[in-house]
Subunit: 220 residues, 2 copies
Amino acid sequence: MDGTESGWTVVIADDHPLVRDAMRHALMQSLNDVQVVDASSLDEAKAAVDRLGAVDLVILDLNMPGMDGFTGLAAMRAAHPLVPVAMVSATNDETVMRRAIEFGAAGFIPKSAPLETIAEAIGQILDGQVWLPIPRNAPSSGTGTSRQDIASRLGELTPQQLKVLSMMSQGLLNKQIAFELGVGEATVKAHVTAILKKLGVHSRTQAVISARLLDFKTVD
Amino acid sequence: MDGTESGWTVVIADDHPLVRDAMRHALMQSLNDVQVVDASSLDEAKAAVDRLGAVDLVILDLNMPGMDGFTGLAAMRAAHPLVPVAMVSATNDETVMRRAIEFGAAGFIPKSAPLETIAEAIGQILDGQVWLPIPRNAPSSGTGTSRQDIASRLGELTPQQLKVLSMMSQGLLNKQIAFELGVGEATVKAHVTAILKKLGVHSRTQAVISARLLDFKTVD
DNA sequence: GGCCATCCCCTACTTAGGTCTAAGGCCTAT
DNA sequence: ATAGGCCTTAGACCTAAGTAGGGGATGGCC
């Protein structure tokens, strides 16, 4: 990896032929002497590395048959600890990127990145460095609202609150909910406030969006 | 696709430069005289079609800034009813594909398809046919009518109103929407009122529910 | 030109949504 | 008996949401 010795060998593992093709073009454009090997599943990728022996980089799609999230990355690392792996995915989620590094990836390349950035990233990784599209220490902020997160928050709701949330997500007004449940509007408002707090959002609309993300169905 | 009259013009709208690039290669490989125009967002795509006038095909990614699932497709169809649209996405979900056709797409191309299949699909679509990777019958049942209904109502919205609705369905407040668009909050409220009227609902929450019925996010 | 329709933007107003504080009744566990 | 959780309500208060109506710019149409 000093640049004088050229002739890189790179394995591209992605189940989308389209993406493999594009990645190959990007590689051949930025490196002058590179051999590219295709793989459309994790097993194929591992077999390719076994066969070739000296591989300089494996480009792994995060969502691919056999990957199962990061378990595929871990498997690849276990089988070939010396071969650097660059993860590729459509996500921009910082926590995902960081976790990829924790699992031994040498870099994370979002598909949304411009071609030059991708080329630069691959160059740095081939050079032995770690590449991330974000600063390495950023606070990761607070918007980590994954499904599981929401699901666990929903579990904290009391039965009555669940009913109210269900009606909210059908588009009912507080007044209508109060009538349906046979209680006062003030009560409904109290429930709504509690729901918003537990879900960690700040408006009725956001609560409804969260609920519908889980295909939250009517209780009635 | 008769080969005698050549000179196609195709707009590729995808936020991933990698995919655009690959698609361009696929196009140039299977068609001999084709002009390809890039767009990285729905707005850019619409602007490109406006500018070029005679466009033979728009290739639209389902997951892209401004798309909001099928909302973007509906908007594009409303703005340019005569231009065929080919949807592209990483999903293989049949219901999603069929729904794309219901909303006026001329075809649905899964990214996981081999390059030859993609080329063949585009050829057929340019030839005026509808292309799907699956048989056309199977009724898909369900809420087809109401979806259709919503789609046609969405088509009546002005561009600005679509933007506002999109932001509403992300849980933004009127104030935030106003800031993002660089207008006054009162303006946003006026748009919201118009949206509610056109969608036939009576509250922001109901509008968001309707909009999200057309919203299909995949992780790909 | 004048006309009409549409869209976008705005001010001023009314209503719905949401917070805060405080409090009573019900049930269950300690 | 006491404590704690849940459901309930009330009133005051503030902010967000939605309505009504008008002004200005554009573009097609007679």
